[in-house]
Symmetry: D3
Subunit: 63 residues, 6 copies
């Protein structure tokens, strides 16, 4: 029943995503008292050109 969206800067590896999904599901299952089969996680890769903070594009902050 929990539907979780994780917006994260592009570049994370499949191994990182796999570990995150596994452990996050466990955390949610335990703390919210829901069954593992009901936990859905969506990952959204955030491009540096599409992310702004402090008034600047992240791709510019990189420089």
């Amino acid at each position: 029943m929990p539907f979780i969206t994780v917006k994260v800067l592009e570049g994370k590896t499949k191994e990182q995503k796999r570990a995150m999904v596994e452990k996050m599901t466990k955390v949610v299952t335990e703390t919210l008292d829901v069954d593992e089969s009901r936990v859905f996680i969506f990952i959204e890769d955030l491009e540096k050109e599409n992310y702004g903070k402090q008034g600047r594009l992240f791709s510019d902050l990189d420089d």
Copy 2:
């Protein structure tokens, strides 16, 4: 006025999306009593590597 987001696993064809948009707009128009011109639909293609359920990445469940 209804703004609808449809998150769906990648791989749907343009024909499927076209049919869904047409019929979903009709359903919303009729049940919520709004004008067709006010129905906006956004489709988000969900990559298998970015979708987790039951603690595993969908791209792993595929195997």
Copy 3:
């Protein structure tokens, strides 16, 4: 697998929401070729004070 969010102006009745969920699920099932048990719909009631269009709050446009 489709996860659908419907943002709509507050004030819709439970009967309207019930009918929309029923018919929208059918449409998605048919056009995207997914099983009914995998269709999840979330309704978000939009308050007039929290909705802006054409540069004005909708609660002001009402007047």
Copy 4:
């Protein structure tokens, strides 16, 4: 940098939310290699009348 949204059925206690935020932050910090100060979590309480599955409102499935 990860921005996490957790949509969950209404009725979770503050203690459950507190524990989830604490442990989820830890998981994300470790698996995605980001600093704790950059993890933001948003919880969205889902009303039973605004959640549909299998073509029916959850508030109807309750009965």
Copy 5:
């Protein structure tokens, strides 16, 4: 055509929201070269109990 969602901590006044909608619409109109009539803004009030940062609920950080 731009659809903008602003998630902000609860407690902003109607006057603040009104000013934000007016000026944000102008900014988007000018920088993205779209017509004012096509700018939609949604405000989401974030409750302190539903917002976590640095591993803690914001309502706890308040103390």
Copy 6:
């Protein structure tokens, strides 16, 4: 603290996005009385094939 998502039709240039992020941050800072360092903006490029209005895909309306 404001977290802003801007869904816009694909094709905007980096210069347009840069200007929007800069000016939108200023507007939010002034009208909502928050510090610039706390304004986060996410841009989502909307593909024409994934955007429906008036019951039709935008990529079809183009013709």
